[in-house]
């Protein structure tokens, strides 16, 4: 029987255009039917010099399917190089050219001597969702732009976190991770966002190690870089939110980078003192808000499901109901991700389900007894189930419709405080 996917949580692999858009002055050139970029036209924070509405596209039609679209692709790339002033051109192939077998690789290799770099990634929509597409674009950058370097700049660290634009807080989180790493005395290097474009990409091979802050997205890229560029990596699966996890993060990264122990501990002591100053001052709010939930459910991608679960259990003392990871995690990572949810304080283990069907998720939420008002953190689709179960609802994962997030972040000590602010704001508005 045909399966109907209810309540979309991600987009097709070709939405990796957003990953390219996040790199400053890089533009995707699409080789697909007309309208593929239209699905991104209402994403938050993506207008500006290059917005999805103006991406060059070969807009192939029936004639190109029958007679091959390579000529049209070649002319589109050539004219993009002439008309658009960008630093990096990434050719992305869509569903139809991949099925009929257009030889994109050959066309792009013909532009090896162009005045700007042209690379390609095969991101056909049927190959997976945009988490996979993101990995493919990063792989394309590694394979086609970077070479192994003999220079190693001391203390240079490449930081890789979640998927830009798919994760609403991507920019804020990335900057906060950079700041934390810098305070350890290391030099962070990222390639997404403001003023971090091609020049930072060129510095990737000179780093001492890669830091991956994500449960599974990007793990294959790390292994690729280890093989090709000889850079070791540290895989830290949990996005650090709040004091408990961020201190752990600083210790692990510091130890891996051989930062002196006293420096790490003094930094942590200083940060925690500041963080707990706030917690102490608002202790009456935490202890006496009787309408606060006891149990919570997170419906998000693996990164937020894991990060928020750990924060709410370890830092705020809530109890986890069932968590839902909706990014269609590949099978080879599911067991590992499940095991991360079992490493919580006080021997608590959170149950996690890799369900992507919104209907089933909502039925399970409705059926569960939360012993009070449920706390639901999820996408906009969860708003209706929150109304039905009379829950506190906070919109943190895609699609984020009723909030504007520009540079806010949930990572780090400050991010933890911000998440507390958001959760309690919801609880307070409802019962004033």
């Amino acid at each position: 029987m045909a399966k109907i996917l209810d309540k979309q949580r991600y987009k097709c692999a070709m939405s990796a255009m957003q990953t390219v858009q996040a790199i400053e002055r890089a533009i995707p050139v699409l080789h697909s039917g007309p309208g593929c970029a239209q699905k991104l036209s209402n994403s938050s924070g993506s207008s500006g010099y290059f917005s999805p509405n103006i991406y060059p596209c070969t807009s192939i039609n029936e004639r190109d399917v029958v007679f091959g679209g390579v000529k049209k692709l070649e002319s589109t790339i050539k004219h993009s190089l002439d008309v658009i002033d960008a630093d990096l051109y990434v050719v992305l192939t869509g569903c139809i050219p991949e099925i009929v077998g257009d030889n994109t690789e050959e066309v792009v290799e013909g532009f090896q001597d162009a005045k700007k770099p042209v690379i390609y990634a095969s991101t056909a929509g049927f190959k997976g969702n945009n988490y996979k597409g993101h990995e493919q674009v990063v792989d394309a950058i590694i394979d086609q732009l970077l070479e192994r370097s003999d220079i190693r700049v001391k203390n240079l660290v490449n930081i890789w976190a979640d998927v830009p634009y798919q994760d609403e807080f991507w920019l804020g989180n990335l900057r906060e991770l950079e700041k934390l790493v810098k305070e350890l005395g290391l030099t962070p290097n990222t390639i997404f966002g403001y003023q971090r474009g091609l020049s930072n990409i060129k510095r990737i091979p000179q780093a001492e190690f890669n830091l991956l802050v994500s449960p599974w997205v990007g793990l294959n890229n790390m292994k690729n870089m280890e093989k090709k560029l000889g850079i070791p990596y540290l895989h830290y699966p949990t996005l650090p939110i709040g004091a408990f996890e961020t201190s752990k993060f600083l210790r692990e990264v510091g130890r891996f980078a051989r930062v002196p122990e006293e420096k790490i501990e003094s930094l942590i002591a200083e940060k925690e003192a500041y963080y707990y100053y706030y917690i102490e001052r608002y202790a009456d709010l935490f202890l006496e808000t009787r309408v606060m939930s006891k149990q919570f459910t997170v419906v998000a991608d693996a990164q937020y499901a894991l990060g928020i679960t750990k924060f709410l259990v370890n830092d705020l003392g809530l109890f986890p109901a069932k968590q839902f990871v909706t990014d269609d995690t590949p099978r080879e990572f599911r067991e590992k991700v499940c095991s991360y949810f079992k490493e919580l304080n006080f021997g608590i283990e959170a149950e996690v389900s890799f369900e992507t069907d919104g209907y089933k998720i909502h039925n399970e939420i409705k059926a569960h007894d939360y012993h009070g008002y449920p706390l639901i953190l999820g996408g906009h689709w969860e708003k209706e189930i929150a109304k039905q179960t009379d829950a506190h609802f906070l919109n943190v994962s895609w699609p984020v419709n009723e909030r504007l997030v520009m540079n806010s972040y949930y990572a780090g000590y400050d991010g933890g405080l911000k998440l507390i602010e958001d959760i309690y704001s919801v609880a307070r508005t409802r019962f004033n």
Binding site: E62, R63, V65, V66, F67, G68, G69, V70, P97, I99, V100, G101, D102, N103
Partner: protein
């Protein structure tokens, strides 16, 4: 079921005429296993009257009454597709309304016919188009 293909050509060998400029179309009929044969050479009559215009002046951009294009569309409306060197955007849309595909390519009629009949054959028999462009497909002669 057999279908017809119209080709805008001057000599029956090459596709070298634009759709509007062609004064005759070579009509091929395609049979069961994708075998095709020349059916007739249709000569275009002179259009009746001069260019007509609508009251609201949309100039054929999608309204039903694009009078100046109608005779040219009706002329080959019984064909499944038309092959020519170049074709205008508006007339292509009018043809699409009559379910006539337009292929604007250059080259030998034989090569184009091979590709197009193969393509329609695969579509009609619900077979995959995988590998069509770089010719890694199961031999073009094998029309299973």
């Amino acid at each position: 079921m057999p279908y017809k293909i119209a080709v805008a050509s001057s000599d029956g060998e090459n596709i070298d005429m634009n759709f509007g400029a062609a004064h005759e179309f070579f009509i091929y009929e395609v049979g069961e296993e994708g075998k095709y044969a020349l059916l007739e050479i249709r000569e275009k009559q002179k259009e009746a009257g001069g260019p007509s215009f609508c009251q609201d002046g949309c100039k054929g951009r999608g309204c039903e009454g694009s009078h100046e294009n109608q005779p040219r569309v009706d002329f080959i409306a019984d064909c499944r597709c038309v092959i020519c060197k170049k074709i205008g955007f508006h007339i292509q849309k009018q043809l699409e309304k009559k379910a006539v595909s337009a292929f604007d390519v250059e080259g030998k009629i034989e090569d184009a016919m091979e590709k197009i009949t193969w393509y329609f054959h695969r579509m009609d028999h619900h077979q995959s188009l995988r590998g069509m462009a770089n010719e890694t497909l199961i031999g073009k002669e094998g029309r299973e």
